[in-house]
C-alpha cells in the first residue's frame, strides 16, 4: 500500500485522446472496458452517439468503431476468457456481442428480451468462463429483472424478479467466478447471489442496504472477493463483508471528510480498496471542470494521494485501473480518454514502429474521422 501511495505522488498525465472534436456538443464517453492481455491491450469506450470505439492502449489510437446500437449504450464489457468478444447493452432493449476478429463491424449476436419484458437494459456482466451473461433492467410496471442468457445460444435462461424494487443499475460477477454475483439497484439495495442454487429465493445470499440509489458496485479486497463496495448516486461509499454482510467502512459527506473541493465521486479503485485491516477505501473524485483527485479514506485517516489535473475539461464519467501496468484510464463528458501513470518511459513496444518512447508529459490528440455530432431529439 505504501508503494502505491508513493507511486501516486508521481502520477501525471501521460496520454490523451479525443473521440470527437465538436466543442459545442461533445459525445460523452459513458463507459470503458479493458482487455486483460499483456501486449498492447485494447480499450472499448462506449460513446453517447450510440457507438463503441476501440482504441489501442498504447498511444490511445483508434482502431475501429462498432456501430449498431440504436440508443444510449449503458455498459460495455470485454469477454473474460475470450477477449476478442465485446458485449454491450443499451437502452434499445438489446445486448449485442461483437467479435473484433470479424471482418465487418456488425455484431455477431444479438440477445433481446423475452416478449413480456419491455424495459431498457441498464447494466451487464459476463461470468469468468464467458458462459453466463447477466443483465439488469429498468423498472417497468413495478418490476425490474435480472436476466440470464447462455452465451452460446441466444435464448433466455431465466430471470430474477423478486430481489429489487428499483432499476437494477449495476451487475458484477465476482472476478474469477461463474457462481457469485452482486447487483445494485435504485432502491438502495446491494444483493449477492449464488447462482448454483436452483431458485431465486435460495440464490439470494446477502442484502445490504445502502439507503440510496446505487450507482456503482464492485468486489474488492485482497483477492477481489472478500468485500463488496458500493457508491451511491449522492456519493456515499460503503464497504461490506461479502460473507457476513457487516458494514466495514462507510463514507458519507465525502467532500468534508476528505477535505477536497470535488463535486462527485467517479468510482472506487477495486484493486486497492479494503486491502488492509481498516478496509481503506481508495477512490477517484472529481469536479465538473475535469480536475480529479485520488484519495483514500478509513476511520482513522483520510489522505489525498494525487491530484490529476490538466487532462479533462468536463465531468469524468468512468475510470479503469490496470494493476499490471499501474496506469489509470479515465473517460469523460469532454470526449477525452486520458491515461495517467507514474512511469516516465518504461513502456516501449518493439513492434510499434518508429515512435520513440514517451517521456514526461507528452500529449497526443488523435483526431477521429468527422462524425455527425450527437443530435438532441426534440422533446
Amino acid at each position: 500500500m505504501e508503494s502505491l501511495i508513493s507511486l501516486f505522488e508521481h502520477f501525471k498525465l501521460k496520454d490523451k485522446s479525443a473521440i470527437q472534436l465538436n466543442k459545442e456538443d461533445p459525445d460523452y464517453i459513458l463507459d470503458f472496458s479493458y482487455q486483460e492481455r499483456s501486449e498492447d491491450p485494447l480499450i472499448a469506450a462506449a460513446c453517447s452517439n450510440f457507438s463503441i470505439k476501440l482504441m489501442s492502449r498504447l498511444r490511445l489510437a483508434t482502431v475501429c468503431t462498432l456501430l449498431g446500437h440504436k440508443d444510449t449504450i449503458t455498459k460495455v464489457q470485454f469477454g473474460k476468457t475470450d477477449d476478442n468478444l465485446i458485449f454491450s447493452c443499451s437502452r434499445d432493449k438489446t445486448i449485442r456481442c461483437w467479435d473484433i476478429r470479424a471482418p465487418s463491424d456488425k455484431e455477431t449476436q444479438i440477445f433481446s428480451n423475452s416478449p413480456g419484458i419491455k424495459s431498457d437494459f441498464l447494466c451487464l456482466d459476463i461470468s469468468q468462463t464467458d458462459r453466463l451473461l447477466c443483465a439488469g433492467t429498468e423498472l417497468d410496471n413495478n418490476d425490474s429483472f435480472l436476466l440470464f442468457w447462455d452465451r452460446r445460444c441466444s435464448g433466455l435462461l431465466g430471470c430474477y424478479r423478486e430481489c429489487h424494487q428499483g432499476d437494477v443499475t449495476q451487475v458484477s460477477f465476482q472476478p474469477g467466478s461463474d457462481q457469485y454475483m452482486a447487483s445494485g439497484s435504485a432502491d438502495g439495495l446491494v444483493c449477492t447471489f449464488d447462482l448454483n442454487e436452483a431458485c431465486e429465493d435460495d440464490a439470494l445470499q446477502l442484502t445490504c442496504n445502502a439507503m440510496s440509489d446505487v450507482s456503482r458496485v464492485g468486489w474488492c479486497g485482497p483477492n477481489r472477493k472478500e468485500y463488496i463496495y458500493c457508491v451511491t448516486s449522492d456519493y456515499n461509499v460503503q464497504v461490506w463483508d461479502s460473507e457476513e454482510g457487516e458494514s466495514c467502512n462507510t463514507l458519507t459527506d465525502f467532500s468534508i471528510e476528505l477535505d477536497i473541493s470535488s463535486d462527485y465521486i467517479v468510482d472506487c479503485i477495486p484493486d486497492m480498496t479494503a486491502l488492509d485491516d481498516q478496509h481503506t477505501i481508495v477512490l477517484i473524485a472529481g469536479d465538473h471542470s475535469g480536475n480529479l483527485q485520488l484519495a483514500s479514506f478509513n476511520e482513522t485517516s483520510s489522505k489525498i494521494l494525487a491530484s490529476l489535473n490538466g487532462g479533462h475539461t468536463a465531468t469524468v464519467r468512468c475510470s479503469h485501473w490496470d494493476p499490471k501496468t499501474q496506469t489509470l484510464l479515465t473517460g469523460g463528458e469532454d470526449s477525452l480518454v486520458c491515461l495517467w501513470s507514474a512511469a516516465a518511459s518504461t513502456e516501449t513496444f518493439q513492434d510499434k514502429g518508429s515512435k520513440s518512447s514517451l517521456i514526461g508529459k507528452i500529449k497526443e490528440k488523435s483526431k477521429a474521422e468527422d462524425r455527425k455530432p450527437y443530435s438532441k431529439k426534440p422533446k
Binding site: 460523452y28 459513458l30 453517447s48 440508443d71 444510449t72 437502452r91 423478486e162 430481489c163 429489487h164 424494487q165 428499483g166 443499475t169 435504485a186 432502491d187 438502495g188 439495495l189 444483493c191 431465486e200 429465493d201 439470494l204 445470499q205 446477502l206 442484502t207 442496504n209 439507503m211 440510496s212 440509489d213 450507482s215 451511491t232 448516486s233 449522492d234 457476513e244 454482510g245 457487516e246 458494514s247 463535486d263 462527485y264 465538473h288 465531468t315 464519467r317 463528458e333 450527437y374 438532441k376 422533446k379
Partner: protein
C-alpha cells in the same frame, strides 16, 4: 440559497398554508411537495440524478416504522412503545410469501439490528426487497428513537425519463419556519448534485395536495 428571495419564499409558504388551512380546509392533513423542473439536462447522456435527503422536520408524521431487533433493541422498542418483532416471530412466518407481503404492507419502513439483517434473506426471502422496504441497519450504539426519527425524516427522490421531479417536503400542519427550513435544505442539496447547479434548474414550485401551485423560482 443564492437565487431565491427569502421573503418571497416565506410569502409563498404563507399563501399555501393559508389556502389549505383557511380557505379550503380538507378532511385530511394535506402534504406539501416541492416540484422541480430541470433544463439543460439530457436524461440519456447525463448522470443519474437520484438520492436521499434527511430533512430537519418530519414530512410524514404518520409513517409507521417497525423494529426487527435482537433482545436489546426489542426491549428498547417496548420501552418506547414502538411496534417490534424479534427473530422468533419472523421465523414463525415460515417464509410464506403472503405473510411476508402482509407484514411489508403493514408498515412503511423497517429498522433491523445488524445481527438480524444478515438472516433476513434466509428467514424471510426476498419479500421485503420486492416491497422496497428492506430494513435499515441499527447498531447498539445508536439511540433507537433517534434512528426512527431519522427514518421518518428521510425522503427519496429519483429522476426518471422526464425532466421534472417532485418530493414531499412537509404538511399543512407545520408552521412557516419548519417548512422554510425543509425547503431550503432540500433545494440546496438538490442543486449541489446538479452539474451546472442553478443553470440546470428551470423552475421550482410548491403546492399542497389539493391546493394551487406557488412558484418560487
Amino acid at each position: 440559497m443564492s437565487k431565491i428571495n427569502r421573503d418571497s419564499l416565506r410569502e409563498s409558504i404563507d399563501n399555501v398554508l393559508k389556502y389549505a388551512n383557511e380557505i379550503k380546509v380538507r378532511k385530511f392533513t394535506e402534504s406539501i411537495e416541492l416540484q422541480i423542473a430541470l433544463k439543460n439536462y439530457d436524461p440519456q447522456k447525463d448522470k443519474r440524478f437520484a438520492g436521499t435527503i434527511k430533512l430537519r422536520n418530519i414530512p410524514k408524521p404518520k409513517m409507521k416504522v417497525c423494529v426487527l431487533g435482537d433482545q436489546v433493541h426489542c426491549d428498547q422498542a417496548k420501552a418506547n412503545d414502538m411496534p417490534h418483532m424479534d427473530i422468533e416471530a419472523l421465523k414463525k412466518l415460515n417464509k410464506d410469501k403472503k405473510l411476508v407481503k402482509k407484514l411489508a404492507k403493514k408498515y412503511d419502513a423497517f429498522l433491523a439490528s445488524e445481527s438480524l439483517i444478515r438472516q433476513i434473506p434466509r428467514v424471510l426471502g426476498p419479500g421485503l426487497n420486492k416491497a422496497g422496504k428492506f430494513p435499515a441497519p441499527i447498531t447498539h450504539n445508536d439511540s433507537l428513537n433517534a434512528k426512527v426519527e431519522e427514518t421518518k425524516a428521510t425522503i427519496k427522490f429519483q429522476m426518471k425519463k422526464v425532466l421534472c421531479l417532485a418530493v414531499c417536503i412537509g404538511h399543512v400542519k407545520m408552521n412557516n419556519e419548519e417548512l422554510y427550513q425543509n425547503i431550503t435544505l432540500a433545494i440546496n442539496f438538490l442543486v449541489s448534485l446538479l452539474k451546472k447547479n442553478w443553470q440546470n434548474v428551470r423552475s421550482l414550485y410548491i403546492k399542497s395536495t389539493m391546493g394551487p401551485v406557488e412558484k418560487i423560482y
